[in-house]
């Protein structure tokens, strides 16, 4: 067992022990939560939705634990091409919060085992949608077996009545393996740290500040098992531009190393109406090299993100109102290198320039009306709207992909008390959404317009991303206390979602999720 795997198992084991011990402590406190109550608690905790861990102390510092295991599956052709025609996920999650003297700690662990069937094009990255234009595609639809381990914790400590300190950290380790030539074994990890502080100007006015640093690495090793069949690989460098590489039979190592720095500021007001305004800025630089023995600089991305979110919550006697407004901006510069092999020094970097730009803007808002209840809420009805504008450019020779969408969702939930004995509850929900496409174009101006990167991947992608489609979802969660003298609540949840494109040729997609779990 190599060092990485050993560390990963230690991490997982430690996280599980931590969370289970929290569960035991919480059980003794006899304050179990139903799924609706847990949801309500998170909606109430406005600071929990920011990267400022210190702010957790300004909300409900509930002690709880939740364990769940589930299975979900996707079927259907209405998808981005790199997603599987079928996708199955086995998931396990553990989440909990505990008070350790004056420190409030929260932790979460997620594990998923994913199987993709008939995923197209992607032949190098565990997550081809993470904003990395430099990767490799091929033409063999393939299965992928992926595993994901996500661990996170937050801790908040009050140094005085006015100053709170906090830290949030997370570790992700994802492994992906493509099952057909060109084979890929890709390992991705991030380590994320967010130290934070909150200063309470008055009991009602709070300002917060956090820093953000994360380190990312992905090592993608490609190989070919059947050496007698020449496999064409296409090394992508943005918007369908690609370099055909027949030498992939000799293997290829892609090494992605990135660093992100950022900060966030927050202002919160606690009155009859509580609101929190948070703005985060992140800047990531990720370098891509090919090979480790004689590394060649393939490219760099400079990824800038700015997110601003306003949340407001009013809790009345009978009804409560939640309101959100958000704006996200992301700009990625794709830097390419001119390199030349030098027999004695390896690949020399002779020149670099920005050759592609990827811009995404999202503006959204939502309103939810809650009917107050003893267990979180009795019912809720909400409306969400999101406007997305995407504009990607390859500068020379010029290519462009752009689209604009408005995504509208109306959702409702009802929390039924079936029986007071053991608090038997049924939480049912339904939502309908519609994606209105305002525009969508892909124009390729580079060399080799007949490459699969152009007529296959990019064309399929824009067809999906610029589609008008409808989406309907229903869900039901049954929960009850395990017994009369325990605070533990067990639950079973089922969700079904169906989406269908207006253009018939794009097809439809279904999603079914089944999970069981327990809150302590």
């Amino acid at each position: 067992m190599n060092v990485k795997i050993t560390l990963r198992y230690y991490s997982v084991t430690c996280a599980l022990l931590l969370l289970l011990s929290m569960g035991v402590a919480a059980q003794e406190a006899d304050n179990g939560l139903s799924p609706a109550a847990l949801e309500w608690m998170k909606i109430n905790g406005l600071w929990r939705q920011t990267p400022n861990a210190a702010g957790m102390l300004l909300g409900d510092t509930a002690v709880y634990s939740e364990l769940s295991a589930g299975f979900d599956t996707y079927r259907g052709s209405f998808r981005r091409p790199e997603q599987g025609d079928q996708e199955n996920n086995l998931t396990f999650s553990a989440e909990g919060a505990e008070k350790l003297k004056k420190t409030y700690v929260w932790g979460r662990f997620d594990y998923s085992r994913q199987t993709l069937r008939g995923a197209l094009y992607n032949a190098s990255l565990v997550d081809p949608f993470r904003g990395m234009p430099y990767y490799v595609i091929d033409q063999n639809a393939s299965d992928w077996n992926n595993q994901r381990y996500d661990l996170a914790f937050k801790a908040a400590y009050p140094t005085s009545s006015k100053i709170l300190f906090g830290i949030e950290s997370s570790y992700k380790a994802w492994i992906g393996a493509k099952q057909r030539d060109i084979r890929v074994d890709s390992r991705f990890y991030t380590i994320d740290v967010k130290p934070s502080v909150v200063y309470s100007v008055t009991p009602r006015h709070h300002i917060g500040f956090n820093l953000h640093y994360y380190n990312l690495k992905e090592y993608s090793e490609m190989s070919v098992v059947n050496l007698y069949i020449l496999q064409d690989a296409y090394e992508m460098y943005g918007l369908g531009n690609a370099r055909k590489n027949a030498g992939i039979n000799n293997g290829r190592e892609g090494v992605y190393i990135g660093n992100n720095v950022g900060f966030g500021i927050q202002y919160a007001y606690d009155g009859a109406v509580r609101f929190l305004l948070a703005s985060d800025f992140d800047k990531k630089v990720e370098d891509v090299q090919i090979g480790q023995m004689t590394p060649r600089d393939e490219g760099t991305v400079k990824d800038v993100q700015w997110r601003t979110r306003l949340q407001a919550l009013y809790k009345g006697q009978t009804w409560s109102h939640a309101f959100t407004l958000e704006y996200d901006y992301r700009h990625i510069d794709g830097i390419e290198y001119v390199t030349m092999l030098n027999d004695s020094t390896g690949w020399d970097k002779l020149h670099s320039d920005v050759r592609s730009k990827y811009r995404t803007q999202r503006i959204g808002g939502g309103y939810t009306l809650f009917g107050n209840g003893s267990d979180g809420y009795r019912k809720q009805i909400g409306l969400d709207i999101m406007y997305t504008k995407k504009q990607d450019d390859y500068l020379l020779p010029a290519s462009r992909l752009d689209y604009e969408n408005i995504f509208l969702t109306v959702q409702a939930k009802r929390n039924y008390l079936l029986s007071a004995r053991l608090q038997k509850r049924l939480l049912v929900g339904a939502s309908v959404s519609y994606n209105f496409n305002l525009s969508g174009n892909y124009r390729y101006g580079g060399n080799y317009p007949d490459y699969p990167s152009v007529i296959g991947l990019m064309q399929s992608d824009i067809d999906y991303l610029s589609a008008d489609y409808s989406l309907g979802s229903i869900s039901a969660t049954y929960s009850q206390r395990v017994n009369t003298h325990s605070g533990a609540t067990a639950f079973a949840k089922a969700t079904f979602t169906y989406s269908r494109a207006e253009e018939e040729v794009l097809g439809s997609r279904t999603y079914l999720q089944l999970s069981i779990g327990c809150n302590f």
């Binding site: 640093y213 069949i229 064409d232 001119v338």
Partner: protein, 415 residues
């Protein structure tokens, strides 16, 4: 020092390293500007041949991205603009005549040449090579599924207006045997205007045994059998029995066929054929030359001055040097259009590269027809640029376009 202190120091060191590394990559990325077009000025010169530049063509190919700029020269200097920063194969080429009135192919080149700064002045030294009367007409190197490679063949053709005797003409495949971005590292004494042969063969004959008249073809097969027979590969598009010659490697499992054998000249510094059971050239695409030594003492087996070694080759295989001036024709083939950066053949001999795009796909490369003689035999394109001169990915065929079989073909003489 406690374990806790150690852990803190390690954590601080790790964070410092990460932040320091991160800062460097941030400052590097922030200093990069948007791409813009570059300009350059190309000037040609030649010590050997007089040329005004008139009639020559400049070709600039981005070896990574495939962008091609072509311009006709009207003088010895030409200005280029709208060049994207990159690594290029630059070639200035065209035909002329030498002092003796022979057709000469002129070429000046820079291969894998970086153009990354604006207003670059580029000097190109023009060199010449003979436009050989006998040229490669068709090459089938990819083989047939599943993994059948014995049907490889090479067809050579008399594209001139004079009868040429094949006797003593050499055939070689070049090193590296497949296109590669990793360049050989030659010893000082091995550098020069040479291509480097992996293996050399020679046409048999006493000087007048094998005449090739204008419009006649000669096919040399790896194994001159009917490959469509059940014991070989019924999917093969090739029946090699009418080949003029074969490369016989004395393999009892694939016995000598009626076609006369080529004469083996050189492999790894020796005259012997070595242990290989067949003369297999790369199914990804090799590079091939037809040549006739100008030095009658050319002997790469016994005279070490004609031998070369790639210092980067673990096996230290001995290769044979072939001066550019000996070469009648050269063709470079590679896996696909993106492997131009792995060229082995200098532009003066072949400024391009041809390909079939896959292995074992039963497709060949065939020289383009540009006209016809009065007798219906074709005139073929020969601009010393395989990218332009060859159709790539065609079904293999002997004597395409009505090329004639020489009268001495064994199927006609019965010998």
């Amino acid at each position: 020092m406690t374990i806790k202190q150690n852990a803190i120091y390690i954590l601080i060191a790790a964070l410092w390293t990460a932040v320091f590394t991160g800062c460097e990559s941030f400052s590097d990325a922030d200093g990069v500007t948007d791409i813009r077009y570059l300009s350059a000025q190309v000037t040609i010169s030649s010590d050997t041949y007089e040329t005004t530049g008139e009639g020559l063509t400049l070709s600039l190919t981005d070896v990574d991205k495939g962008t091609v700029i072509e311009k006709a020269l009207t003088g010895s200097t030409i200005a280029l603009d709208e060049i994207l920063p990159g690594i290029y194969n630059l070639s200035v080429y065209g035909s002329t005549k030498d002092a003796e009135g022979r057709d000469i192919y002129l070429n000046g080149e820079h291969t894998n040449y970086p153009i990354v700064e604006n207003n670059k002045k580029i000097e190109v030294e023009m060199k010449g090579s003979l436009l050989g009367p006998v040229i490669f007409k068709e090459i089938f190197f990819s083989g047939t599924a599943n993994f059948y490679f014995r049907n490889q063949f090479y067809e050579v053709y008399n594209n001139s207006d004079e009868t040429v005797y094949l006797d003593g003409l050499y055939f070689a495949n070049l090193y590296p045997t497949t296109a590669s971005t990793f360049r050989p590292i030659w010893r000082e004494e091995d550098k020069g205007d040479y291509v480097y042969a992996d293996r050399i063969w020679k046409f048999p004959g006493n000087g007048t045994d094998y005449p090739l008249a204008p419009g006649e073809s000669c096919v040399i097969s790896q194994f001159a059998a009917n490959h469509k027979l059940p014991q070989y590969n019924p999917n093969s598009p090739v029946d090699g029995t009418s080949s003029e010659f074969e490369f016989n490697m004395n393999n009892p499992n694939y016995p000598d066929q009626p076609a006369p054998d080529m004469v083996h000249v050189f492999y790894d510094g020796k005259a012997g054929k070595g242990g290989s059971p067949q003369y297999l050239t790369s199914v990804f695409g090799g590079a091939f030359v037809l040549f006739k030594p100008l030095d009658e003492n050319y002997d790469p087996v016994n005279d070490k001055k004609w031998q070369a070694i790639d210092q980067d080759d673990y096996y230290e295989q001995i290769l044979a040097k072939i001066p550019y001036s000996y070469v009648w024709d050269a063709v470079e083939a590679g896996p696909n259009e993106s492997m131009l950066k792995g060229k082995r053949v200098p532009g003066v001999l072949d400024a391009g590269m041809t390909y079939v795009g896959d292995i074992y796909n039963s497709l060949s490369v065939a020289r383009k027809k540009i006209g016809e003689r009065a007798d219906g035999t074709p005139r073929l394109q020969d601009s010393n640029n395989s990218t332009n001169d060859f159709e790539h990915g065609v079904t293999p065929q002997f004597r395409r376009y009505g090329a004639k079989m020489p009268a001495w073909n064994h199927t006609l003489t019965g010998k």
